[in-house]
Every structure is written in C-alpha cells, then in structure tokens.
C-alpha cells in the first residue's frame, strides 16, 4: 500500500516571501501521479498542481512549482510571492497509474502573515 507523509504539520511565511512544503511517499510502482491540493477555511478542495511520474520536468502553475525527486520519492511544493489568500491546509496526494484511489497525507497548515 502507498503512504504519503507530510512532516510539517504547520508552517508560516511572511507575505511576498517564498515557502516550501515537504512531501514524501512510498510506493513500489513506477508510473503514478502526484498532486497538491489546497483546502482553505471554506473546506473546498482545490487542485494546485499535478505531476506525472514519467515526466522529468517539474510542474509549474504561476506562483506554484514542485521539486519532484523520483529516486528519493520526494515531492515538495514551492509557493513564491506568498499572498494572504494562500493561507490554507495543503495536502499532498498520490495515485497509481492504474488506480482510481487518491492517497492523501495528513496535511500542512500554512499561514501567510501580513
């Protein structure tokens, strides 16, 4: 079974600064997908970014980028120019290529300080 570990329960960052959230996972599969979801106080789960394991290039979406290290089974999220609206829980998630199930980490609570 796959496991996803987020080792930082809480983090804070000053507005306009950069922050990196960590995620490691354990799997025996070679093909899979990794995701970062954002959950603001409204509780809506919002997709931030997605990475296919077969792609060596790290995914980017505007201010959000990932550092995907397949051999190390690491998938960190970097948020640049942090904004107050980035305050939320962030969940890392794994899905095998032939699977339908997302496996989530326990989340990191990010607070952006004005």
């Amino acid at each position: 079974a796959q496991t996803v570990t987020q080792s930082q329960p809480e983090m804070s960052v000053q507005e306009a600064e950069t922050v990196t959230l960590s995620c490691t996972y354990d799997t025996s599969e070679n093909n899979y997908y990794l995701f970062w979801y954002k959950q603001p106080p409204s509780r809506q789960m919002i997709l931030v970014i997605r990475q296919e394991a077969y792609k060596q290039q790290n995914a980017t979406e505007n201010r959000f980028s990932v550092n995907f290290q397949k051999a190390a089974k690491s998938f960190s999220l970097k948020i640049s120019d942090s904004q107050l609206g980035d305050t939320a829980m962030y969940f890392c998630a794994f899905m095998g290529a032939g699977s339908y199930q997302l496996t989530f980490g326990k989340g990191t609570k990010l607070s952006v300080i004005p």
């Binding site: 809506q44 789960m45 989530f104």
Partner: protein, 115 residues
C-alpha cells in the same frame, strides 16, 4: 458548469438515524468518489464508481452504501448513524483521459455530526 455539487452542507443526526448525502456532477465524468475527512487528517476513500451501475469499496466502506444509476449522480447512504461517522464528506469526480484516470475535482463537502 456547476462542477460537483453536494447537499446538504451540514446535518445533525441522532444515533441510529439514516440519511442520504447527495452528489451530482455536470462534467460528464465517468468516475465518482466519496471521501471522508476526520479532524486533522487527510481524506480517506469510502466508495467509488467507474460508471453507471458499477461501484466498489474503498479504504473505509463500513457503515455506508452507494448506488450509481446515472452518470451524474452518486448518493451515499448511511443506514444506522454512529458517532464514529461524524466527519466531513467529500464527493469527487474525474474522467478517463487518453493518459488514464485524470485529476479528481471535489465538491464543497457535507459536514455531518452524529449525536
């Protein structure tokens, strides 16, 4: 598109009562899912469906039932509510693309309190 919608937003149940959580998607997605999120935890899969008439158990199915009579709807049924079912429930959907099952999109959640 409304995306994935869920009703109700919040409900209080007494122990032993039954209820159905509704989920509808208008994106013509093949796959639909039900997750629960307990305090301080990530989401855990309860049931999923790969198409109308086909459902299967996820990680935590006990105490729940589902049906999928149409592509759009995927209701979750609690038959005998227990305090352990106090949680936030999320419905999600995704489509089968050329590269496999694609990103899951989530509804706004239903908060359930069993007393």
């Amino acid at each position: 598109n409304a995306g994935v919608t869920q009703t109700p937003k919040f409900r209080i149940l007494k122990i032993g009562q039954s209820m159905t959580l509704q989920c509808t998607q208008d994106m013509n997605h093949n796959y639909m899912y039900w997750y629960r999120q307990d305090p301080g935890m990530g989401l855990k899969l309860i049931y999923y469906s790969v198409g109308a008439g086909i459902t299967d158990k996820g990680e935590v199915p006990n105490g729940y039932n589902v049906s999928r009579s149409t592509t759009e709807d995927f209701p979750l049924r609690l038959e005998l509510a227990a305090p352990s079912q106090t949680s936030v429930y999320f419905c999600a959907s995704s489509r089968l693309g050329t590269g496999g099952v694609e990103t899951q999109y989530f509804g706004p959640g239903t908060r359930l309190l069993v007393l």
